[in-house]
Subunit: 143 residues, 2 copies
């Protein structure tokens, strides 16, 4: 996908989240829409991607922007280590593979509906609460 196309998608995406477009946000959004595929990034990895394409956005802004996108429902946070937070451009409900040794994060069985991980027999949420979402992480160990 051409960069120009990514920028177009990025603009629509930002508008969709009711987020004002700025130079930095457009760069980050374009990178996230990048190859047209679902991406899993951390603040660091996205920051590196920015520098990698010759652009410049401060690390603090990357952090703040990822949070803003997340709060606008454009991204979904994933927690797999105490350390860093991952963000997923696919906000639909799906499970993840997590490599314990390398820290890689991929979608699990999200290529086709029949491969989707299924969670059943969910308990009723306690009084005064509702389910915000159900996270499923399949941790992998190198054999």
């Amino acid at each position: 996908m051409a960069m120009i196309e990514a920028k177009r998608k990025a603009a629509l995406w930002l508008e969709n989240g009711g987020i004002r477009a700025t130079r930095q946000r457009e760069i980050l959004a374009a990178l996230l829409m990048g190859d047209g595929h679902n991406r899993h990034v951390t603040a660091e990895s996205l920051f590196d991607a920015v520098r990698g394409c010759g652009e410049r956005v401060s690390l603090a802004t990357v952090y703040n922007t990822l949070r803003a996108f997340s709060e606008a429902g454009l991204l979904r946070e994933i927690h797999v280590t105490g350390g860093k937070v991952y963000f997923d451009t696919d906000t639909t409900n799906h499970a993840h593979f997590y490599w314990e040794d390398t820290g890689e994060l991929h979608d699990a069985g999200h290529d086709a509906p029949e491969h989707e991980v299924r969670v059943s027999n969910l308990p009723t949420p306690p009084e005064g609460t509702e389910v915000s979402r159900v996270d499923v992480v399949i941790r992998l160990r190198r054999i």
Copy 2:
């Protein structure tokens, strides 16, 4: 349960993990075995519990010991926020409720087998890996 009983369980528990008993480890183990129930602690909360019962263990040792217990298979780590790491004394496979606002963590449907959360249709782990474990976290939002 009396403190003396907790100490007894703690000693067996440590031995079970092949972990040498020391004063601090016995204190921590006894607190974890405490009320005979499954506990969810963080380094901070366990450190506070130590001070609360008049004992003294350094915070660094609490961190190191939790990690040691974890590596010995006596505890299980749970990741729900980028911030802190929770440890669960119940190492069997079970789902958790997580209160997004307060940071509370409880077991979900682990009281009886028929209430257990079920995960099915798990994808085959990628070449060269095996499933270390599957984490299910039900995030709750206050209504």
